[in-house]
């Protein structure tokens, strides 16, 4: 039965392996999980899920799974003989409760109504005040509040709350497919760090010195080495204004995260698409610009380029000369972006627009193709994928 949980988790893309599954069984054997559903939920999560980003998915799968089992009980209640229920009621109910059963017209009446309800009702029900199900105030069903209620399909004792832990989905915000703040961006960007020894040899290499000295029959032979630095170089190109105004917050978060993560970071702005000019200061964008040719000349090809923009515009703004909404461009956007991509092979495009829209916007599709499918959503997961694309050798 538990194997089913394992497969469901794997289907929901929670990376669970056999090792973890066996560890869980081990724990259940040792009695760690306890015997309540809540304890089992917590223990299963400790043993099976190794990343808080997957907590939410786990909660959903677990909820489904447990509800499925609950449904099994619901399916068989129609077949429970009345005498059993009656005997159970004699044992469970206090005198006071029995008195209120009498007040409702007596035991037989309740059972009669229950039978009718069961016939009328075909599917599972939760909440409400009439139908048989869970969590309601009807006299029939589990987890109910009616003192004259009949408990059906409830295996363990009452937990005291209808809303289960996994139903709350408290970890929704940790799932990496959602957009998040600066810190998460930083963590994602940090993966791009690549340490290398470059520059002046100004540190004593202890191991090498010892080795060399030993080989030198004990006479000191000092070896120096250059300091280890983050050697990655990044150029950020931001789309500003127009439709990007809706995404200012995310772009800002990305910008401040990137600024603190990379020592060699340069940034420029463009509007809608890349043409012959870029600028660094949005207030003086018409006076202080750098020509894109100069930009290409200035930076070495070891720089990684990250475009940030929604790429949402008329397709002509990309494909034709003179298509720009702001000025007359002699050459088309395609020409310009290809020049950049030829010089800088490591490039990605981050798009704050939700990925579900991409197929519907022609300009996004064009840009996606221009970048060799290296467009990623501006989410933590998207940045993670973008970073791995940037690390690939060309």
């Amino acid at each position: 039965m538990l194997i089913d949980l394992l497969y469901r988790l794997r289907k929901a893309e929670v990376p669970v392996s056999i090792t973890e599954y066996l560890a869980m069984l081990d724990g259940i054997n040792a009695g760690v999980g306890g015997y309540s559903v809540d304890d089992f939920y917590h223990f299963a999560r400790i043993a099976l899920v190794k990343d808080e980003r997957h907590y939410d998915r786990f909660d959903q799968v677990f909820g489904d799974y447990i509800n499925g089992i609950q449904n099994l009980f619901d399916d068989i209640i129609g077949e429970i003989p009345e005498e059993w229920l009656r005997a159970e009621a004699e044992r469970l109910f206090t005198d006071e409760e029995k008195a209120s059963i009498e007040a409702m017209g007596g035991w037989d009446e309740i059972m009669e109504t229950l039978r009718k309800r069961l016939e009328e009702q075909k599917k599972r029900h939760q909440g409400g005040s009439k139908w048989v199900g869970t969590g309601g105030t009807s006299p029939y069903g589990a987890y109910g509040y009616n003192p004259a209620g009949v408990r059906i399909g409830q295996k363990t004792g009452r937990q005291g709350r209808a809303m289960k832990v996994w139903d709350k989905r408290e970890y929704k915000n940790l799932d990496d497919q959602r957009e998040l703040g600066t810190r998460n961006f930083k963590m994602a960007l940090r993966k791009l760090r690549r340490f290398a020894r470059e520059g002046a040899q100004d540190q004593l290499d202890l191991n090498d010195t010892i080795n060399a000295t030993a080989r030198n029959a004990g006479l000191l032979d000092i070896k120096m080495i250059a300091e280890r630095r983050n050697a990655i170089k990044v150029l950020l190109l931001f789309d500003v204004g127009g439709s990007m105004d809706y995404h200012v917050q995310n772009s800002e978060a990305l910008f401040s995260a990137a600024r603190s993560e990379f020592k060699h970071l340069e940034y420029y702005y463009f509007h809608n698409f890349i043409y012959e000019k870029l600028w660094k200061d949005n207030r003086r964008r018409h006076n202080e610009t750098i020509s894109t040719v100069e930009f290409i000349r200035t930076y070495g090809k070891d720089y990684r380029i990250i475009f940030v923009g929604d790429a949402t515009m008329s397709p002509f703004e990309i494909t034709t000369a003179g298509g720009s909404v702001e000025h007359w461009n002699e050459e088309s956007g395609v020409t310009w972006i290809n020049r950049i991509l030829t010089k800088f092979p490591h490039a990605v495009w981050l798009n704050p627009e939700s990925q579900t829209h991409w197929q519907r916007v022609p300009s996004i599709k064009i840009t996606h193709q221009l970048l060799d499918e290296r467009m990623f959503p501006l989410t933590v997961e998207g940045i993670g994928n973008a970073i791995s694309a940037l690390q690939k050798k060309h």
Binding site: F43, R45, A47, K50, Y171, L174, T182, G218
Partner: protein
Amino acid sequence: MTQKFTGTENYVSTEDLTLAVNAAMTLGRPLLIKGEPGTGKTQLAEEVARSINAPLFRWHIKSTTKAQQGLYEYDAVSRLRDSQLGDDRVQDIANYIIKGKLWEAFDCDETAVVLIDEIDKADIEFPNDLLLEIDKMEFHVYETRETIAAKHRPLVIITSNNEKELPDAFLRRCFFHYIRFPDHDTMQQIVDVHFPGLKKNLLDAALKVFFEMREVPGLKKKPSTSELLDWIKLLLAEDIPADALQSDDKNSIIPKLHGALLKNEQDVHLFERLVFLNRRK
């Protein structure tokens, strides 16, 4: 092990955290703890050690820490020096083996608690180098050709701030728990534990301000539990009455002594701006 961890008089442990610690203890697996900064990850190891009366070995990880340093180090430099001075000790290489934290814990005659703090600060290869050691709880010393095995499997508690992704092989061998940010009730318990006898109305006012502040969109660094505790300490030291914290106070735009809560001047500006806008409504 029969002892169970249940939280201590100065550490409030939630139900799921307690279960995680006890599961790791019973099954002898390392427990990986993650969570927002300031939610008491490091504190946990200390409190667990105290509550089960076990010795605690702290291993704080830096970017330069190597996995080998937790096992042992071979002090080649002193041996080289001794050899040049003609010291007798130089004959036995064991004299130059310095035990690391894990070795010390393995050598312990009772179950020890090992804290590997901020494992994500280390080099990317660090967790991989410790796979066998934390799985089998043994390692081999090449210099002396002996194998060191733990007398009692220690409880290994590992904390991470998520700065680097940990390798899957490493994760598979651990139990994992994410310390959620405490809700209002738990936070009240935590404050009670740290400041017993705190006036009810001050606590209510402080918690209200605190949780409202956490709700502010766009803060670069949200205030955490440890910052709340610092702030309350300051409020008590300055003897600030509860009504001074109410946000409808005309004189102070933002709560008193906010420096303990907001650690970034952009956040302070943002907060001031929002409070100002709110007031105008």
